[in-house]
Structure formats: C-alpha cells, structure tokens
Assembly symmetry: C2
Homo-oligomer: 431 residues x 2
C-alpha cells in the first residue's frame, strides 16, 4: 500500500478469504484503510462487506465508489444484504437498494419488514422446494433445470399446495434413491419449522439443541417464505455469546474498532451504576464511623469480607445466567439449584472463616476480631449464593436480560451485607 502498487496488492490479497481481508481492514488504522480500499477498488468483494464489523462498515461503504459498491452487493444472498442494510443510514440504504435487481430488491424489502433480530431477518429467501406429490426423478430434473439455485443448500423442502412446508429431503437421500420413489417417503425424521417472527437467539438454540442443518421459515399463514442454514445460526450463537460475556462485564455493545469517545460513552452508564452501588456500601460504613475510629483494624479488614462476597456472588450469578441462557435452569430445578448454591456458600464460607480467623488473630492479636470476621464471611458467602442465583432468575421472570443487570444488584447485596455484617458484629462483640 505504501508504494501504491496496485497489482502487487491484488496478488497479495488474492489467496485471502473475504473474512481475513475484513479482519485486516479492521486491524489497520483509518488512513491506511482508506488507501487500501481505494487501491483495491474493483476487486472489492461483496463478502468482505458482510464480514466487516458494523463499526467500520459504514466508513468502508462511504469510501467505495458507487459502481464498485453496486457490483459488490449484487453478488450477495438476500440475507447478507439485509444484514448489511440494518446498520446503515438512509442515504447509503437507498444506494444499496438501487444497486439490486428488482426481484432481489423486493425480497430484501420484505425481509426488512420483519422485526430486528427475528428469524425473518436471518433467513435467506432463496429456497429449494418441491411439491409434496413429486417423486425423486421429478425433483432431480427440476434441480438440473433451475438456473437460480442458492450457492449452498442441503435440503429440498416439500410443500403442500398452499406452500406450507411438510418435510425435508436431504440431497444425500435424494441422490441415492431410485427415480420413482416418492419424496414423501424419504423425508427426514427431524423436521423443525421456524416462524418468521421467532427471536434469532431461540433459532440458534434450536439449531444447536436439535443438530439442525437447515430449517424452513414460515409466515403467519404457515407458508414457506425462506430458509435458515446452520452457518447463519452459528454466527448468531457466536454473537449471543459475545453479548452475554460483554453484558456480564458491563461493556455493552462495544467492539475493538470503536473510537475512544464511543467506547467511553458505552462504558459510562455501567460505571455510574457501580458508583451508586459503591456509595450505598459507603453509607453502610458511615453508620459505623465511631467503631472504626476506636478499632482501626476494622477499616483494614472490611474490604476483605466484601470482596470475597462479591466474588462468590459473581460465581453463582455467572452459572445462573449461563444456565438460563442454555435453558438448563428452569422452574423445575430452580429450588434445587438455589439450595445447592447456598450450601456451597456455607461450606466455602466456613472454610474461609477458619482461614480469616487465623489471619485476624495473627495480624491483630485479637481472638474476638477473628470470630467476627469469620462469622461475617459465612454470612456473606451464603447471601452471595442466594442472591447470585435468585436475582438472575427473578430478572428473567420479569423480562429483564439477567446478563445485563444481575451484576450490579448482586454486588450491591454482597457489599452492603458484607460491610453491615462485619461492622455490625464488631460493634456487638468488640465494643
């Protein structure tokens, strides 16, 4: 790029997969990125756009010449175009829709009518289907004569006269059966139909749970409108995990290529919530100022109790959030899980109570201080197990994403309980 040698660049990029080129574009800085795209120009592939992170996709589209963009977009399947359009502003939106052929344009616009993050957005409109009264020979002849098949497909979807899907036939079975065999007789045992309005997270769950490869999508009249394939489901699964892990850490929607100011804005609210939490905990401490002035060791030891509780709470809450996401934690076992977490907190609490009592005695030479910190530890770890499980379950019940909000609540509980138990017991026992 530095010497602006276009041919050499094209040679170098030739063997790379679109996903790798996209990664490359994400990792270099904005100026190099612009120069590279200008130089690469006509070779720019539609798939690179699909693979790019949203945060820089808009920039890249702005840099591309309109005719290069049009070429690039026309190569894509309808689901990839929909994915592209979701994140663009209106003028770019129009530019891309204009580049499409009429039939593709209608398909894309229909998909955009489905709610965001729904199966309707995820599916591709290109479906290979056959009437359910056909036999193998008819299906094969139909496939051979079709011009416009999707690049990859794994099933032929059987539909009844009203276009409702009734079964899936794998290509393997189709190929190995005699021409006069009825398609109906060789459908797959596992057949899962997805409503277009279903949330994409639930779609990914179904693919993972039932080992689906592709599944037909139907509209509100049960008519076939598209198909979702496992690679799309895998991408969603990946995104959902990313979201969970980021939300648990209070990072929101960020990505590595965001600017400082965006990242700051994304993280600020989480830190603000934490500040409120921390101030609440401080208010508890403030009630015990007199005690701290008398026994300054209390100030030294109190963060230990709160910190251990916070960690144990995070452990319980992470297990609960994950189990809720994978639907392993349900109404039928929630009490057993809570009981287990509380018992785990109790056992670990007792173990650390012993350790801390010893530290208390050795460090400050006070048996009673040891007892106090030990007892506070047990209390806080039991509460951590209880809150760490119950809070995410309750949040899920009232429709709030537990990954998003549990952390702040659980930490508040363990901080407040930790400081209160330790300082409160200290006042009773020591003063």
């Amino acid at each position: 790029v530095d010497v602006s040698d276009r041919e050499k660049l094209v040679d170098l990029m030739e063997p790379l997969h679109a996903a790798d080129i996209a990664d490359l574009l994400e990792q270099i800085n904005a100026y190099d990125r612009m120069r590279l795209i200008r130089l690469y120009d006509k070779e720019f592939d539609g798939e690179i756009l699909s693979e790019l992170d949203e945060s820089i996709r808009e920039d890249v589209i702005g840099i591309l010449k309109p005719e290069v963009l049009a070429d690039a977009v026309r190569e894509l399947d309808s689901d990839d175009v929909v994915d592209l359009l979701e994140d663009l502003d209106d003028s770019q939106h129009e530019a891309i829709l204009d580049a499409l052929e009429d039939s593709d344009r209608v398909a894309v616009e229909q998909s955009l009518n489905f709610p965001e993050y729904s199966a309707g957005r995820l599916m591709q409109r290109e479906v290979v289907m056959a009437p359910d009264h056909w036999n193998v020979g008819e299906a094969i002849d139909h496939l051979r004569s079709s011009e416009d098949l999707p690049e990859h497909f794994y099933h032929v979807v059987l539909v009844d006269p009203r276009l409702r899907p009734v079964g899936n036939v794998t290509l393997g079975k189709l190929m190995r059966s005699r021409r006069d065999v009825a398609l109906k007789s060789i459908t797959e045992e596992m057949f899962h139909i997805i409503p277009a309005t279903r949330d994409e997270g639930d779609v990914a769950y179904a693919f993972n749970q039932y080992h689906l490869i592709s599944a037909p999508v139907v509209d509100e009249n049960d008519r076939l409108v598209g198909v979702i394939t496992i690679d799309d489901a895998m991408a969603v699964l990946d995104e959902e995990h990313e979201e969970d892990i980021m939300r648990l850490a209070g990072v929101g929607e960020g990505s590595l290529s965001d600017r400082v100011i965006e990242t700051t804005r994304q993280r600020f609210p989480w830190l603000a919530v934490n500040l409120v939490t921390a101030v609440l905990a401080s208010l508890v401490i403030a009630q015990f100022e007199a005690a701290i002035t008398q026994v300054v060791a209390l100030a030294v030891l109190m963060p230990i109790v709160a910190s251990m509780g916070g960690n144990a709470g995070t452990q319980s809450l992470t297990v609960a959030v994950r189990s809720l996401a994978t639907k392993d934690l349900t109404g039928s076992n929630v009490w057993r899980v809570i009981r287990r977490e509380v018992l785990v907190g109790l056992v670990n609490g007792l173990a650390f109570a012993v350790v801390m009592s010893i530290i208390g005695v050795l460090w400050f030479g006070s048996m009673q201080l040891g007892y106090v910190i030990g007892a506070a530890m047990v209390i806080n770890l039991v509460v951590a197990g209880l809150a760490g499980t119950a809070i995410p379950v309750l949040l899920e019940k009232v429709g709030v994403d537990p990954a998003l909000a549990s952390g702040a609540f659980v930490t508040t509980v363990t901080d407040v309980v930790g400081f209160f138990a330790f300082l409160g017991l200290a006042v009773v026992v020591l003063l």
Copy 2:
C-alpha cells in the same frame, strides 16, 4: 413415572428429541432419574447418552442394563462414541468398546490415539470420498451402491491415489452436473484441510471464520482419515464460549448437575486467590491506619475508588480476552488498543472525578477531600485500562489462558493502586 406406567411413559417421551430427553434427565433428581431410566429401559437411545452432561452420564451408564447400553452405543457415529468414552472410567470403557462391531471398534480406538481436544477426536471416521479422476456419473453410481454411508454428509471429498484430499464437491453441484463432467472441474473454491492434531478450538474458529460446512481431516502423512462437520464445530464453539465465560467469573469447569461438594471444591481455589488479593489490598490500607484514625471519612470513601477501578478493569479485560479469543487483538493493533483503553479510562476517570468531588464536598463538607478522591479516581481508572488490556495480552504471550488468570491480577492491581492513590494523596493533602 410415579405410577410406573411404562407404556404411558414411552408414549410421552416418543415425540421428544434425544436432546430434550437428556435435558429432562439432567433436571430431575437422582432418584427420579434412576426410576425413569429403569422404566424407559429398552427404548433408551444412544443419542440421549451423547446429549447428556458429563457429570451425570457416568451415573446413567451405570444404571442401564448392559444389553440396552450395547444397543444404544451401536447406533452412534464414531465421533459420538469417542466423545462418550473420553469421560468414562476403565470398566465402563471396556463395556462400551465390547459392544461395538470390530471395524467400528478399531476406528474408535484410532481416534482415541489422538490427543484430547484435537481434531482427531472430533472427526467422524465415516467419510464419503471419490478418486479425483472420476466423473459425476461414477460418483453418483458409487453413492447409490454404497451400503454404509454416514447419516448426514454434505460433500464428496476427492482424493489422489495416495489418499490425500484434493478437493470438495457439494452434493448440490454433483446432482446438477451432467454425468460426464469431471469431478475435478466442479470442486468448491473454498477448501480447508485440517490436520488431525489441530486444537478443536482452532477448528471451530476456522468453521466460523470461513463458513465451512464440512472439512476433511488428515494425518501426519496428509492422508484423509476423517471429516469434521459444522454441527460438531458448533458444539465446540458453544463449549469454548462456556469455558471463557466461566473462567472469567472464576467458576472453573462446573455444571448445574454437579454435587455440592464438587462445586465447592471447584470454586474454592478461585476464592482463595481472591483472598490473597484482598489481603494484599488490606496490607496497603494498614499502612495508613494513622490517617484513617484522624479522618474516618477516608475509611468510608476508600471502597468507592477501589470498586470503580475494579469495574473499569473488568470491562477492559473482558474486551481484551474476547478479542484475543476471536483473534481480533493481535500484535499489529495491541498498542492502539492499549492507548484507546487508557484514554477511555482517563475520560471516564475525569467525569467520575467531578461527580465524586461534588459528593465529597456535599457529604463531608471538605473541598480537599473532594480533590483527593477525584484525583485517585482518575489514576485508578487509567491504570485499570492499562492493566485490563496489558495483563491478558502478556498472559497469552507466555502461554497462560487469559480468561483463567487475568481477573485476579487485574483486581489486585486496581485494589492496590486504588487504596494507595486515595490514602496516599489524602496523607499528603489533608494531614
């Protein structure tokens, strides 16, 4: 189950997918599980075993009658049998191997020779292959006459005379091409060969990055030994995410169906590490006992600074750990990312410094206390951004899983720096 009505049970379970039955078995308690399995008996399907969580799989295998177990295992593909065997003790191991037919047994034993978590363990041995000089007609005839094809396959792998894979032909292309077309001329553009020793995490990454559907696996002589399909890769991706999220929270390998004592043991070491961290922070506080006795407000406010730093550090570290896992954070952009995180810390630090100064003034009526806590906040949030990114990157460099160990290090840094900056500045400014 309660009335031991076997026929009704079988009727009820009939429409359920093996994965759902496995989930059901995981969610009920051990006694009900035993009764249900005894009652279900001969209907017990091999796939249920595959879907079960490791922690209760061993129990379930112990409950099954040997002949039911043998039937169940014989239905499975080789990769599922390998997956089963990995977690069993020796006597159960033998029982399952004995149940297999000789050829399957050899295949399974060969797979077990590959290292754990390698592509060799993940692959299935059943491959559909064709010599690279065949044409479409020969391949189709071969497929039609083969008895023992895998249940699902998506590609025919072309191999040279030495059994080295040279290309993939999709079933769709095969079906649509004329019989006299050479297979070589219709291979896929994207062809990714996986060495049997490659780590399964890298395999899942390749599937996700390059949108693979299936990929051939080769031994050290580049000869085809098996094939990995996208559903296996999706399962690995799911597991790896689970591992990352659990390790970040310090939960280890646990699962919901573990017993209290196992869970306690898994979590104990993480809490122990946290205790050391917390004690280190307390040692810092202990240096300032005199100051705290004079200005007890310091004890009240100091957890706020540490807590904000800990949260900001966790944010940075989660982004770093995720980016390392997805290979978005590399040597080429590590400095830019660190600079960004530090700047984000600085900006958020300044914002919260203002907020905290106001709180300090309003609450304790001291301008200087406000300045001190504000300055400490800025210092700690900048350090959090730096440590939160640099520590995972360094751990990855020295070969330690950053998800596993970063948390403890980063929290130690933010706690120590937080207390030290706040109390140290307080001594200088206030006393």
